[in-house]
Symmetry: C2
Subunit: 243 residues, 2 copies
DNA sequence: AAGTGGTCTAGACCACCGT
DNA sequence: CGGTGGTCTAGACCACTTG
């Protein structure tokens, strides 16, 4: 049983109202004092809920004016693969639609680059995993993943066939915290050609990632490779009032 | 003259201390009560300053434990081109290093896609701009930009030679607010080959962007094309405690 | 001038982690 | 258990936009 903070509950309700069209795009929302009365909370709590929605790009606020509902952003609507994806593919598409074909599952000692990325010394073994992820039976992304063995000693092929993230979260009890990603355009390599059915010289969208736990420990270094015509990567960048 | 909030001043000071090594990586920072005393502010204000740093990935907090300084993230260190780049190239590299070669500067009526992206009707003309941006005299990125004429009626080639963003912010008085980006891998086209000196069939990293003002009006739709071997795109994704 | 959102306070209670 | 961070309050003052 977990407790959801008031500001989060309120943010959820307000988000629902916006999505339901109860507050129209480019119109004003009720002012913070009214909302505080409606929800029987202090204005600071309302403010925090609104901050959440502003970070999501749903509203914007202007001192002296009010809180506006943001009109739809064209690129946002077309979007299908959000930046916030370190919860994994299964969380996004649902367990039924995602399957995995294991192409490699080895264990080895890390080279210098991997020692640095995962903050390990050369004697701490890592898993070396290559998986083809399929959505609705169709090749979606080819993932090359390195993870420290010591964090997940019981990793097996059965787990790899499903979601590693679910395993780490639910069975091992690790808490995921964040990720740093670097996005490149590269040439298709032999594996891309074989499994993603790329042609030689096709461009490939590669997402290089270091992900870490709530205590700051890196737990994953990975490359995700995508067909250039099948997938893109989207980012929402909200300017926090400074400029 | 503008007034900087206390929490922002404090966040800046604490950030400096972390970067100076005054608070060591993977060590605890002073607790919030102590910091509140040191800066003579309430604990809520300290909390807000720390939230800022947590969003930047510099620290992480654990209930019942304390505030930890995040160890360095490997990809973050190598990084040179941050996601937060809608302030423009000149703001990042400095005015002296960035020059622009104007390849196209036209005005035309928007097609349906552009009407949708920029929320215009078919009778409102837009600028159609192609610029090669050079850093230290070397080709860096090829930018194809569409902007509504009505927002910036006096745009000229002189301005294009420098920073459009500086012009919009300082001379026109527009307030930039946010951007939605979609990142693709694509084939080099004729312009890429000519100006970025790509070879035919080279992959190109393309960033498609819709940017909008503080009042929610879209003011720019653009494509930035980069040589695959010259540039990447980085994103920091911090999980806000939920999962 | 009136009304809005942004900041800040002083204190309270709670949830969580360590011992 | 003591100490930590997370939330929340009721009120205050300020900065800003609009009439």
């Amino acid at each position: 049983m977990k407790k959801t903070p008031k500001y989060e509950q309120i943010a959820n309700q307000l988000r629902d109202r916006i999505n339901a069209g109860e507050y129209q795009a480019n119109e004003l929302m009720p002012d913070q004092v009214s909302l505080a009365e409606e929800f029987s909370v202090s204005r600071m709590t309302i403010k925090k809920a609104l901050d959440t929605l502003a970070l999501e790009g749903l509203i914007y606020t202007r001192r002296g004016d009010g809180t506006h509902v943001m009109g739809d952003i064209s690129l946002k609507i077309e979007t299908n693969s959000p930046a916030d994806e370190h919860r994994g593919l299964t969380a996004f598409f649902g367990q039924d639609r995602v399957t995995s074909k294991i192409i490699r599952f080895d264990i080895l000692f890390p080279n210098e680059a991997l020692q640095s990325h995962l903050k390990l010394n050369k004697n701490e073994p890592i898993f070396d995993i290559v998986r083809l992820r399929l959505v609705d039976e169709k090749p979606y992304v080819l993932e090359h993943t390195y993870m420290p063995q010591k964090l997940m000693p019981n990793l097996s092929e059965d787990i790899l066939a499903n979601s590693i993230y679910d395993y780490l979260k639910n069975d091992v009890g690790l808490k995921l915290s964040g990720a740093y990603r670097k996005i490149h355009a590269v040439f298709a390599d032999d594996l891309d050609i074989e499994y993603l059915q790329c042609r030689p010289n096709d461009p490939v969208l590669e997402v290089e990632q270091v992900a870490w736990l709530a205590d700051g420990t890196p737990f994953e270094y990975s490359f995700s490779r995508n067909r250039y015509d099948a997938r893109s990567y989207t980012v929402l960048d909200i300017n926090q009032g400074n400029a």
